[in-house]
Symmetry: C2
Subunit: 388 residues, 2 copies
C-alpha cells in the first residue's frame, strides 16, 4: 500500500551533450556575484572549467573562486566556503563537479547567512534553515549521488569522526542542473565504478523495506535493471554515450525521492558506509559496496519475501524447485558476482579498516528504523567483521 505523502521537485534539468549552453539562459535570472565551486581541479584539465568560466564572463558575472572541495567535504571547508560567500556578497552558487561538490554547495548556501554554527544547527539538531538561502545551480561531471535533483548535503566532521547527511527542503534544492553524459567520460575508472555502486545502493536502500507490491517498488526494479544493464558497458568503454547517458539519468531518479514515495526505506548501508568513511576517508561508493553483501545476507531472513522478489525480478532467478531462502540467496549471489565484475571494493579491510577500528566504527554508526531488522551494536560489529 502506498502510504500518505506529498511530492514536489522543481529542479530544472538540462540533459544531453549540448546541455551546457543552457547555463546562459539560467544565469540571467541571478545576480552578479557567482561563487564557482569545484573539486580537485580535474575540470581544469578536461576543459569544463574554461567553458564554464567563458559562459560566466559572457554573462557579465563576477567570479568568486572556491575550488578544492574534497571527495568527502569537511566541516572546515564548509566554514571557509560560507565565509567566502558572505564576504563576497554572493548572489548565486554554481557547483561544477560530482555529488560532493553539489552537496557542499548546498551546505554553503544555507550556512553563509546562518547566525550560528551550521554543524550544530543542521547536522546535530537537523533544523531547517531560518536564514537567507543562496540559490544553487549544478553542472554535473559525474553520476552517482543524485545530489543534482535533491536537497541532500553530506558533511564530514573529522574532529568528531562523523559523516552526516541532512536532506534539506525544496528551497535548498538546485534551481537547475546541467547533465552532460560526456563530462563523465574523463572520470577515473575507479570513481565511475564507485558512482555506479552508489546509485545501485540508493535504489536498494529504498527498495529493501516494506513488503508491499507498490508502484515505487516496480520503479526501483526498473532503475536497478537499467543500471545493471548499462554498468559494465559504461566501465568497459568510457566513450559509450548510450551507457553513460542511462547511468547518469538513472542516478538522478534513484535519489530524488520518487522511488521512496509512500513507502518506508532502510538507509543502514549508508549509515555503515558513512561511519567507515569517517574513519578511512574511503570513496563513498566503495564504503557502501564493502558493507552491502554482509548486511543484506544478514537481514535477508527478516525480509525474505522482498529478497525473493529481488532475485526473480531484478536478477532473473528461476525459483522452480528452490526454497524461498535458496532463491533469495541466489539473487544476492548474482548481485555479488555483478559487483565483482564491476570492480567495487568488497572488503572494508581493503579500505584501511583494521580489527581495532571496528568497535569505534560501530559506535559511530547511526542506527535507523525502516529496515527488516533494527540492528543492535553487536550485530553491527558482526556485519563489519564479515567484511574484514
Amino acid at each position: 500500500m502506498l502510504g500518505n505523502f506529498s511530492y514536489k521537485n522543481a529542479t530544472k534539468l538540462y540533459f544531453g551533450d549540448d546541455s551546457l549552453k543552457y547555463l546562459n539562459e539560467e544565469l540571467k535570472q541571478y545576480g552578479k556575484n557567482v561563487q564557482l565551486i569545484y573539486g580537485g581541479g580535474s575540470i581544469k584539465k578536461n576543459g569544463i572549467y574554461d567553458s564554464v568560466v567563458e559562459i560566466l564572463k559572457a554573462n557579465g558575472k563576477n567570479i568568486v573562486e572556491d575550488g578544492g572541495v574534497m571527495p568527502n567535504p569537511t566541516l572546515e571547508k564548509l566554514y571557509e566556503g560560507a565565509k567566502i560567500a558572505k564576504e563576497n556578497h554572493v548572489d548565486f552558487i554554481l557547483a561544477v563537479g560530482g555529488g560532493s561538490v553539489c552537496d557542499y554547495a548546498k551546505a554553503v548556501a544555507v550556512s553563509a547567512h546562518c547566525d550560528e554554527d551550521p554543524w550544530d544547527k543542521y547536522y546535530i539538531r537537523f533544523e531547517e534553515p531560518s536564514c537567507e538561502i543562496i540559490p544553487v545551480g549544478c553542472v554535473l561531471t559525474m553520476a552517482g549521488t543524485g545530489s543534482e535533483m535533491n536537497g541532500g548535503a553530506v558533511i564530514t566532521n573529522h574532529k568528531a569522526k562523523l559523516k552526516v547527511g541532512h536532506v534539506f527542503g525544496e528551497e535548498v534544492m538546485p534551481k537547475f542542473s546541467i547533465l552532460n553524459p560526456k563530462f563523465t567520460m574523463s572520470l577515473p575508472k575507479k570513481q565511475m565504478i564507485a558512482g555506479i555502486y552508489d546509485i545501485f545502493s540508493h535504489i536498494c536502500e529504498q527498495y529493501f523495506s516494506g513488503e508491499d507490491d507498490n508502484t515505487s517498488d516496480y520503479l526501483a526494479e526498473a532503475l536497478m535493471k537499467s543500471v545493471i544493464h548499462s554498468s559494465l558497458i559504461a566501465i568497459d568503454n568510457s566513450q559509450d554515450y548510450e551507457a553513460r547517458s542511462n547511468i547518469m539519468w538513472s542516478a538522478t531518479w534513484a535519489l530524488n525521492t520518487l522511488i521512496s514515495m509512500g513507502k518506508t526505506t532502510d538507509w543502514m548501508v549508508h549509515m555503515l558506509g558513512h561511519s567507515v568513511g569517517a574513519y578511512t576517508d574511503a570513496i563513498h561508493g566503495m564504503s557502501l559496496a564493502a558493507v552491502s553483501i554482509p548486511y543484506y545476507r544478514y537481514i535477508m531472513p527478516y525480509g525474505l519475501k522482498k529478497f525473493v522478489r529481488f532475485a526473480k525480478e531484478v536478477w532473473g532467478v528461476n525459483p522452480d524447485g528452490k526454497s524461498d531462502e535458496e532463491t533469495a540467496n541466489e539473487g544476492l549471489s548474482k548481485m555479488e558476482e555483478w559487483m565483482k565484475k564491476l570492480g567495487v571494493t568488497m572488503k572494508i579491510s581493503e579500505l584501511g579498516v583494521t580489527e581495532e577500528m571496528i568497535e569505534k566504527i560501530a559506535d559511530g554508526t547511526m542506527i535507523l528504523n525502516g529496515g527488516y531488522k533494527q540492528l543492535t551494536r553487536d550485530e553491527i560489529i558482526a556485519i563489519l567483521k564479515e567484511s574484514l
Copy 2:
C-alpha cells in the same frame, strides 16, 4: 541512447486518504475569486463537493460555479467557462473531477484573457499563451489521464468533428493536485476500467517507439507491470485501497513526461481514438482500447525487437523455441486477454461506429511521426475495419 532534453515538473502532489486537508494550505496563496469546475454532479452525491465547498468557505473564498463539464469537454463549454472566468475576475481555478475536468480547467485558464478565439490559437495553430494565465489546482476523483501533473488539455470541436489535445508548458500545469485514492472508489466500474486502459495506453504509446535499451523504457515497463498487477484487483473490489492507490500513482507518472524523456514516442492510438471519439462521443479509454490491438498487430513487424522485449519483460513470455514473431504475437495475445478480463471495449462497432463512418474517421485522424511505421490513409482504414 537518451537524446537531449530538458525536464521540469513543479506540480506539488498531495497523495493519500487525508490529502484533501492540504487544500487549506494551498488556497492561502491565491486570490479571493475561485472558479469551481466540476463534471456531471457525481461529486454532489458522494460528498466531495460539500467537503471542497466547506474548505473554500473556511478560507474566505468567493465561489464561482462552473459545473457540468462533459466527458469530452466541448469548445462551446470552453467559451462559456472562459467568459465566466473573465466576468467574475477569477483569481484561481479549482478543478474537482477526472481528466476531462482538469483538461477543461487548463483550457479555461489560458482562454479567459486570450484576445482571440482559443480554438484557432491553441488547437489549430498550437501557439503558446501570450495572455495572463489563471493558476489551476486539481482535486482528482478518478485515475487515468495524468492531467493532474501535466500541461495537456484536450478539447472537442463538434462542429469540425475534431478532438484535439494541446500540451501546454510549465506555467499552465496545475500548481498542485490532490490525489485521494478513496475518491475513485465511488466511480462507476466502466469509468474506472476506461481510466485504467487510458493509463496503460499512455505508457504503451511512449514505449513503442525507438529501439534503444534506455532507462525510460525500463521505467515504462515498471509502470505497465504495476498497472497490470493492480488493475484486476481494483476492478474486482472497488474498496481495495492498495490497488486503487497504485493505479492512481501510476497514472500520474504515466503521463507527466518522465517516461518519454530522451526518446521518440508514437501517439497514433490516441489519434485514432480521438477521431473515433469525435464521431461517437465514446468514453476516451474505451475508444483507445478498441483500436489498440489492431494497431499494434499491424505495426508489430516494423518494431519487432521492441515487441519481443514487451512480451518477455511485461508479460513474462518465455521465448525459448519460438521465433521473434511468435514471441511478439504471444505478448500481444496476453495483452488482449488482459484487456478482455479488464472489460474494455474491443470493437469500435460497440462504440457506435458503422462502416459508413470509417472513411470520415480516417480523414479526421491526425497522422503523427514517431511510430515504427507512418500510416497511410488506407492503412488507417484497414486498422479501423479490423475493429468493426
